[in-house]
């Protein structure tokens, strides 16, 4: 009897380790890497707090599509593009500080809704292949974004600031200076702990968003999304408008990603017009997966664990690379390689688990 229990415990520990392989791997990387980096505790704390503030909103925006069974929304870059368009406009209008962020968010909202609706509608026609489809939609929309920003802005769309428009008279420059709104949210309520600056206002906003997500899960729409995420056919038979619910989940994710991008860029203080959004989806998804989330299951807890672990690795990687091999660039490559690696590993683990569960269900049926 006790032998059986031991066996059961061993299996559960093994399964627990497998299901949390990615966070465990990252904890190990951080434990080994922190002493090798030579950074002080207060520096790492300061950096992690800053990154936690600037990225949480973006990563949280991924939770709603996971809830609706649409996997990891690589299409969040669409929201990021909308947020950037909002920021370009407020920069041109010379609006600064918190009002600039609010105005950029208001401008980004209808663009995000439109792009989210478009993305959701396409994804409804690619059921079961949502992630790869949203990834490709991101690339496609990047082309449209470039067309708008590079050719329409300054010619068809009025942009007058010479600091923004290219010397040829149309198109936006490579970088947009957001110095006038830099850290305006982060420094709204100044607070320091152990020499590290805490972006209190940003954390309050993130906490409000977390509460909204918790509340949303209990609403009729939230329940519908969970039902759709568990089984689309059962949900349909229960009278839930499956397609509409799925589109709504993508729209919400895109809108929140747009807001997240504005918060992210106010912390950075510079907008790389043609590049800032391109990697945001990949890094946000990697951070979520590092926190122990999977394609079909993600929680608020995963978001924060993921950001802390992923960003600790992000902070220390270049210095560890320089200290070990004498090449900081290697550490930079390492973190990009790890980001892609984490997504691959999480997808492979998900596939293994799904197959195992299907096999188990088949065996039980026999």
């Amino acid at each position: 009897m006790s032998g059986k229990l031991d066996m059961k415990n061993k299996i559960s520990v093994k399964e627990l380790a497998i299901s949390n392989l990615v966070p465990i791997l990252f904890i190990c990387i951080c434990i080994i890497g922190i002493p090798l980096s030579g950074y002080s505790g207060s520096y790492i704390l300061n950096e992690v707090l800053s990154r936690l503030g600037r990225n949480s909103f973006l990563v949280l925006s991924l939770l709603i599509p996971v809830m609706a069974g649409m996997g990891l929304n690589f299409g969040m870059t669409l929201g990021a593009m909308a947020g950037q368009i909002g920021l370009i406009f407020v920069s041109d209008w010379n609006v600064v500080g918190i009002p600039a962020m609010v105005l950029a968010a208001i401008i980004s909202t209808p663009i995000s809704i439109l792009l989210g609706w478009l993305c959701g509608t396409i994804l409804n026609n690619a059921k079961g292949r949502e992630m790869v489809t949203s990834y490709i939609i991101g690339f496609f929309m990047n082309g449209v974004y470039q067309l708008v920003v590079l050719y329409f802005m300054g010619s068809i769309i009025p942009i007058t600031s010479s600091a923004l428009v290219l010397p040829r008279g149309y198109g936006i420059r490579n970088t947009v200076n957001l110095e006038t709104m830099r850290k305006s949210l982060d420094n709204l309520i100044p607070f320091n702990i152990f020499g590290a600056s805490v972006p209190v206002a940003t954390f309050i906003l993130v906490a409000v968003f977390c509460l909204i997500i918790v509340w949303f899960r209990r609403t009729k729409l939230g329940q519908d999304m969970r039902a759709v995420g568990q089984d689309m056919e059962v949900a349909r038979q229960a009278g839930i408008k499956v397609e509409k619910t799925r589109v709504l989940s993508i729209i919400l994710s895109t809108v929140f990603a747009g807001y997240g991008m504005i918060i992210y860029l106010q912390n950075i203080g510079t907008l790389n017009t043609y590049n800032s959004h391109s990697q945001i989806g990949m890094f946000s998804i990697a951070a979520l997966l590092v926190g122990g989330a999977s394609v079909d299951k993600a929680s608020i807890k995963n978001v924060f664990i993921g950001i802390i672990l992923f960003h600790t690795m992000f902070i220390i990687a270049p210095t560890v690379g320089r200290n070990l091999i004498g090449e900081a660039q290697l550490g930079e490559y390492f973190r990009v390689f790890v980001s892609y690696g984490v997504i691959t590993l999480a997808l492979v683990l998900y596939e293994i688990r799904t197959r195992r569960e299907a096999r188990k269900a088949l065996e039980e049926a026999e």
Binding site: V90, N94, V96, V102, I106, A163, N275, F314
Partner: protein
């Protein structure tokens, strides 16, 4: 088609958001005020003048000098403190309203001191910046995914 209560609620919400956007535009709009202490026509420059905007005191502006103040919003309290030829200190207080469309305006301090009761348009005027933008003329646009090593 029957229009329900939720339709009106949605319309009201949209209008509210638009109004919030307009409000943000008004309160967040930044303006640059050039504080000019140069000769204006026959009116000679002041020896020394200090300009306080919304309670924030600037550095003294000497004769033939120009300073700038960056303000947010349209309405501001202006206080100009100067010393006359008999070394007596005077302060002129005015409320100014910068037109929403103006990014940069110039304030002719000698004119204001000479004509303190004159309308705002006479001493606060539009200014077109001739400054050359620091970005290179052939700013090449990079649209490829070269930002593989971007920070996050």
């Amino acid at each position: 088609m029957k229009i329900g209560r939720s339709f009106y609620i949605r319309i009201a919400a949209i209008i509210l958001v638009i109004l919030l956007g307009v409000l943000m535009f008004f309160i967040g709009k930044q303006h640059t005020i050039l504080l000019d202490n140069n000769k204006v026509g026959d009116i000679r420059a002041l020896d020394e003048v200090t300009v306080t905007i919304d309670g924030v005191e600037g550095l003294p502006i000497y004769s033939r000098m120009r300073d700038q103040a960056i303000v947010t919003g349209q309405g501001h309290k202006l206080a100009v403190t100067y010393v006359d030829s008999s070394w007596e200190e005077h302060t002129i207080e005015r409320e100014i309203k910068i037109p929403l469309s103006e990014n940069m305006v110039i304030l002719y301090l000698p004119y204001l001191v000479e004509n303190p009761d004159s309308p705002q348009e006479e001493w606060l005027q539009h200014f077109e910046s001739q400054a050359i933008v620091s970005a290179p003329a052939d700013d090449e646009v990079v649209t490829s995914d070269d930002a593989m090593l971007m920070d996050f």
